[in-house]
Amino acid sequence: MLSAAAVPRLGPDRDPRSDPEAMAALVARAQAGDDKAFEELVTATHAETYTLARRLTGSDDDARDVVQEAYLRAYRSIGRFRGEARFTTWMYRITANCASTYVGKRRKHRHDELVDDLTVIDTRPDLDPVAQADAADLRGRVVAALDLLPPKLRAVVVLRDVYDLSHEAIAAELGISESAAKVRLHRARRKLKDHLFPAREGGGAGDEGEDPS
């Protein structure tokens, strides 16, 4: 049985976060039924899993629930982990699946999030050209803009562009087709770009512009 009270500490020279062999050894022990090894895996990877869950749900509380569910699923199916990908990548996929289920359930109770085409709020960053020029600031604004995206679009762009998951894996975990995943990715990228770099008044002339050739 797992003991929530006492979480074992890892040796400083065998930190699974930076040592793939140590991680693989922990996974092998966990697969053999060693609950302490699974606890160590949770300790080593929970911050990364939480980060993904937070980005997918847009809420701290929801992220904690998703993380709990993700590790429960991982615990139950650790025997089926074949080690073809890294343990963290496997956890990303489980977390994506849990978050998708969780957000789907939550939306049934929150009608304000039912609309897929939720308009991204324009905070008019173009009014501050200094901030716009600042790459570090852009990063912060990207994080804020991600939170404003509809959950379906946010999930795809986070999994693809931040965590580099394949379209195939994203489609499998979100229960959609690969082509739907690609369409959502393009829409999410366009919404992010339009939010971060809003078109200036009267600057839409190029919309009608045709290739002269």
Partner: protein, 124 residues
């Protein structure tokens, strides 16, 4: 065939700001269109910012590991209780079936015995 900026929206997004990912017609349009060039640069900047987020690890509020382990433990207990109940249910149904079979057999024995005892005087 001419290409408009509107037609290129999805292609520019799909390229992630990489002109090499565009088809020939789109590349030719972008070369002559300042607006699409700007869009391409903006997509590239957004994608770069998104990729840089991969290095960020948010620190959860304390207690998450404990919550995770407690959740697994609790689920394990629920599973054990469910297994126990399932086992008891099976035993209960099995017992009922056995009792019904025994009662049927006893009834048959009584019936046969009574039939024989009624025939005996007639035989004498």
């Amino acid at each position: 065939m001419s290409t408009s900026c509107l037609d290129l929206g999805d292609q520019l997004a799909a390229s992630g700001g990489d002109p090499g990912a565009l088809d020939r017609a789109a590349r030719r349009h972008v070369q002559g269109c300042l607006r699409c060039q700007a869009d391409l640069v903006q997509h590239r900047r957004v994608l770069r910012a998104l990729r840089s987020l991969r290095e960020d690890v948010l620190v959860p509020a304390p207690g998450l590991v404990t919550e995770v382990l407690a959740h697994i433990e609790e689920a394990g207990e629920r599973h054990a209780i469910r297994s126990l109940l399932t086992g008891r249910r099976a035993a209960y149904i099995g017992g009922l079936a056995a009792a019904t079979a025994a009662a049927g057999a006893a009834g048959a024995v009584v019936l046969v015995t009574r039939t024989r005892s009624r025939r005996l005087p007639l035989a004498g």
